[in-house]
């Protein structure tokens, strides 16, 4: 067992400050274990969210030494022996208390996305889809909604453009519908106009912080941008559609 120093942001919407804690740490612990030890021994009312403690639910998102991380997947031995560990709430969302932020904006974005509209079932009552056709969609559906990507996205974090861009999490949710073999809805005009696909400037910060290692930018957002370009700006594609008599919604 070793003593470690923690600085934990404590406060609420009206303000707050970092408080120091000295904690006994056992081998194999993650940051969330240490915060729990602080909570049970030194600060019973320390607010933080967590559930599964195994990187599957995406509740314990916070900024650890300045980086957006899941506290349950951040091992203490990933830091230097004498390093002080600083934990603070996600910066992009309003603080409720201590390490807990108000992430309700994300739930509102999800609500704006039109629901899945499958094609009819086949004659035998099944839907046939092949594994190679669903691999990409399954990658996007690994998302645990930890919102670390939303937290780190420049468009939301620095520009505060929450009205114009839904953020990486919901771009890949849109991608998971757009690329779903059964979905019949045309989502391209909304992806461009309502959800702001053009605002992403491909810095890949979201991809870097994703604990599920989803290729958010390369596999999700860029292909969506390409579909938008095909629809609106590609003269060849436009001509082909005209020749074939295909009309598309813009």
């Amino acid at each position: 067992m070793a003593k470690r120093s923690f600085k934990v942001w404590r406060g609420d919407a009206s303000g707050g400050e970092f408080k120091s804690f000295e904690v006994d740490v056992d081998p194999g612990m993650v940051v969330l274990d240490v915060l729990h030890r602080i909570q049970s021994r030194q600060a019973n009312d320390l607010a933080l969210r967590w559930n599964c403690k195994a990187g599957k639910c995406g509740s314990c998102s916070m900024e650890i030494n300045g980086k957006p991380r899941l506290a349950c997947m951040t091992r203490m031995n990933s830091f230097g022996d004498d390093e002080t560990i600083t934990t603070q709430p996600l910066k992009t969302f309003p603080v409720i208390k201590d390490l807990v932020t108000d992430v309700s904006w994300n739930y509102k974005q999800n609500q704006r996305i039109a629901k899945f509209k499958p094609r009819p079932r086949e004659a035998d009552g099944t839907h046939r889809m092949y594994q190679e056709d669903v691999d990409r969609v399954q990658e996007f559906r690994k998302c645990i909604e930890c919102y670390l990507c939303q937290d780190v996205c420049h468009v939301i974090r620095d520009r505060g453009a929450k009205d114009e861009f839904v953020g990486p999490r919901f771009m890949i949710r849109l991608a998971s519908l757009e690329m779903h073999p059964l979905d019949t809805d045309d989502r391209i005009p909304e992806i461009r106009k309502e959800f702001g696909s053009g605002l992403c400037n491909i810095t890949r910060c979201c991809t870097e912080v994703c604990p599920e290692h989803i290729g958010i930018t390369d596999n999700g957002i860029i292909p969506l941008k390409e579909r938008v370009v095909d629809r609106y700006f590609d003269p060849v594609a436009g001509l082909l559609r005209k020749v074939r008599g295909i009309t598309v919604r813009k």
Partner: protein, 614 residues
């Protein structure tokens, strides 16, 4: 004096408590029936314990092996549950699970596929055929996300981070629920005509558990306080494979899918010990040589299943016995090896979360080394007693579905039947509540006195000058349950456990949470201690009463199944002077179902038994 009119009040026809798989499915059903439906959840939407489910959901669709059908699934469920299951629930579940799974696909779920493009199904313990629809090893996430993304467009009102405290009644009937917002600590009265409890189990009473903080038995305790009967709580499932090292991750689940996909268990001598633990009931259907087990893995349909895929109670007991005999792994478990059985890319594709979890939390590469695993408290088979078809409890207007309800699983749950349980009985609970609400001639109304008393009980914890630390009491509770009500039990331990729980209850009377009511986890912890104490006492008293070993309940003083005890359920109810425990005769099954459950597998498959049932 507290004025009830000043407390926020929200009205719905039906309130669903809990937003895991059962709660979401129940809410979707209520909404489809035209009811004004509200859902409260302790966590944010989509974070419920359902996301932790890994391996899959059992449904006899026959996509991988055409010999599968609901009758074989029903037989597996009854045998896995050691014949203590409620017959009708096991039947409804086996019959309806396939439609519920296909419905999820209609709502956007993307399951792994067979070569023919159908929903793929994997092998699991106790299931005769590959039966689990799955998405790698993150099936629970797929289930909850599909229901969530469908549910938010159905007009359901979701009230997130809102915890239920007490059920409100008007005479004998349900009239609502008192809850509090975690964010502000303010109270809220939900007035409604029916409540559906979908609150899960109470695994947090044990120190080594796969359960999250939410698993504090809230629904079980609320139902008990409201006068509902509880049933068969002695059956607590220890999943055989939880992580054992490092200590901080002890108990985190290692999916049974590892064994379903070929993983084997070994002791520290390198022996594949499960061959030594094949019980009589399963001997005719289990491989007894390594050679036969290997042929099964290679797809030989004439080979019998390897013993690693025996039911969870049997595997957990075998691991405990190996460790006790000194043949355990360095950290007190045994070895689970898939590295030597399957190529690395297969493991990473079929078990991505396990690969990830061991790599990041234990620094073990499961494509190269074996995992160290041991039993972890995983699931409550028992819970609130319900009617099989409507899921109504013994309190009018109160329904329960999913893990908090009893009956489907009997003495032991088969892997993969928890997710299918949620969607089958979540829907039926919604139907049941719908029928009940439509039959009501007037809206029940809870009295102010009930509400003020409940609010006072909750706020006393904050107002008191000093008192005991709820976190430390919780640790004490875990110590008691681990020492007295573990995987192997006896009368002396259980009796001592009852006494120790009584003493702990006395200590918990003056719990104190420092700080204000705004997002105060210490206060939340104290409030959930009440649920945990009721639930733990019920488990312990039920375990003391059942004098036999059956499924997940093992008594060293009463080894083996008793032909007498299979005829009884253990019922728990709130009495005038405390908890009442009753040994009550279990209703006999209908003849056609009894015949199915007892049939030889050949006779079932040839249609000699059950051939007339569709």
């Amino acid at each position: 004096m507290l004025d009830v009119s000043e407390i926020q009040t929200i009205e719905h026809d039906v309130m669903v408590i809990g937003a895991g798989g059962a709660g979401l499915r129940a809410a979707i059903q209520c909404s489809a029936l035209g009811l004004d439906t509200g859902v409260i959840s302790k966590s944010l939407l989509g974070k419920a314990h359902t996301v932790m489910a890994e391996g899959g959901m059992a449904a006899a669709m026959g996509n991988v092996d055409k010999r599968d059908n609901w009758k074989v699934h029903f037989r597996d469920t009854m045998r896995g549950g050691k014949f203590l299951n409620v017959w009708r629930m096991a039947e409804l579940h086996a019959r309806q699970a396939p439609d519920r799974v296909r419905e999820l696909e209609e709502w956007g779920a993307v399951f792994d596929r067979t070569k023919e493009g159908l929903i793929s199904q994997r092998n699991f313990g106790g299931h005769r055929y590959p039966r689990l629809a799955h998405v790698g090893d993150r099936t629970g996430l797929e289930l909850i996300r599909s229901l969530q993304d469908h549910g938010i467009h159905q007009g359901i009102k979701f009230h997130m981070e809102c915890s239920g405290l007490e059920l409100l009644k008007d005479g004998g009937r349900i009239a609502g629920v008192l809850a509090y917002w975690r964010e502000t600590g303010r109270f809220v009265i939900y007035r409604c005509k029916a409540v559906i409890l979908c609150t899960g189990g109470g695994g947090k009473a044990w120190p080594i558990t796969s359960n999250s903080w939410e698993y504090t038995g809230d629904g079980i305790a609320m139902a008990y306080d409201a006068g509902a009967e509880l049933m068969d709580l002695e059956f607590t499932q220890f999943h055989p494979t939880g992580m054992v090292w490092p200590l901080s991750v002890r108990g985190i689940l290692v999916t049974e899918g590892v064994r379903g996909d070929g993983g084997i268990l070994k002791n520290n001598k390198g022996e594949r010990f499960m061959f030594n633990y094949i019980s009589e009931r399963f001997a005719p259907e289990t491989a007894d040589t390594v050679e036969e087990a290997n042929r099964w893995l290679e797809g030989d349909k004439t080979a019998r299943r390897p013993p690693e895929l025996l039911t969870r109670d049997e595997v957990a007991r075998a691991i405990t016995a190996e460790v006790k005999a000194g043949r355990g792994s360095p950290h007190g478990g045994v070895f689970l090896d898939i590295a030597s059985r399957r190529p690395a890319d297969f493991i990473r594709r079929k078990l991505p979360s396990m690969y990830h979890q061991f790599k990041e939390l234990a620094e073990v590469d499961i494509t190269k080394e074996p995992m160290e695993v041991g039993p972890t408290l995983h699931y409550f088979m028992g819970g609130i007693r319900v009617d099989a078809d409507s899921q109504e409890t013994t309190v009018p207007g109160l329904f329960a579905a999913g893990e908090c309800a009893a009956g489907l699983h009997g003495a032991n749950r088969l892997g993969g039947t928890s997710l299918s349980d949620l969607i089958v009985f979540g829907k039926l609970a919604g139907d049941g509540a719908g029928t009940y609400v439509k039959g009501l001639s007037e809206t029940p109304r809870a009295s102010d006195e009930q509400i003020t008393a409940a609010v006072r009980r909750a706020t006393d914890i904050l107002k008191r000058e000093k008192g005991s630390n709820p976190y430390l009491l919780h640790e004490k509770l875990e110590g008691i349950m681990s020492a007295r009500v573990g995987i192997v039990r006896n009368k002396d331990d259980l009796s001592a456990g009852v006494d120790e729980l009584e003493a702990l209850k006395a200590e918990a009377v003056d719990m104190k949470a420092p700080g204000a009511s705004q997002y105060n986890p210490g206060w939340h912890e104290a409030l959930s201690m009440r649920s945990l104490l009721i639930t733990s006492e019920a488990v312990t008293r039920a375990a003391l009463m059942r004098e036999e070993s059956r499924g997940a309940h093992t008594r060293t003083d009463f080894p083996g199944e008793s032909p007498e005890w299979v005829k009884y359920n253990v019922i728990i109810k709130k009495g005038a002077s405390g908890m009442e425990v009753e040994k009550r005769p279990k209703p006999e099954g209908p003849a056609h179902l009894v015949a199915l459950a007892n049939a030889k597998i050949e006779d079932l498959e040839s249609g000699k038994v059950g051939g007339d049932l569709t």
